[in-house]
Symmetry: C2
């Protein structure tokens, strides 16, 4: 017969966050899991920037950047501020920096 681990499961199940929270957590990290978006966030880490400046920096089309900024904005990771024709984007809060920094700690090994 297969071995038993109901005791362990009982304990772990109690500590595990809800499915919804774990789903949200995964969705958040999914957004960090793309090089383009990481680059955008890292650039905004330094200073607010308009869309075409980011496109220049990453050597990508305006459209591609705009799509990714929408993804980031929908996740409340960046926000935009209009100034004339341009829209300046910046990081929404300091969690973004913290998360990126934690990631860096891990790969520095």
């Amino acid at each position: 017969m297969p071995h038993d681990h109901t005791e362990l499961l009982k304990h772990v199940k109690e500590e595990l966050p809800t499915d919804e929270m774990l789903q949200d957590l995964g969705d958040l990290f999914k957004i960090f899991g793309d090089t383009t978006r990481i680059k955008i966030m890292y650039a905004l880490y330094e200073d607010e920037m308009c869309v075409c400046a980011i496109a220049d920096l990453l050597n990508m089309t305006q459209s591609a950047i705009s799509h990714q900024l929408k993804t980031l904005k929908d996740a409340n990771l960046v926000s935009g501020r209009r100034e004339g024709k341009e829209i300046y984007y910046s990081l929404s809060d300091d969690h973004v920096k913290s998360i990126i920094n934690q990631g860096f700690e891990h790969i520095k090994e």
Copy 2:
């Protein structure tokens, strides 16, 4: 003519990590960006567990869990320890916990 932002770009470019590092960073977060893997890591956050216990906990097949554990192991996020027929997995280091915690801070809003 399009507006100019060479000064800003010059500054940001200096501060930006190398492409390779940003790529690695994205790859790392990509691994966190899946609900199944997040659940596995969260479970191991509590205690080391064998494959079939994780499969039971998440109500998924042994094969699916095994595939994901391989992904996590390849990224040095978990490691396995054989004990008889079973293989007990645990988190490789504390960065995993830190990253998950930082993510949680963000979604708690």
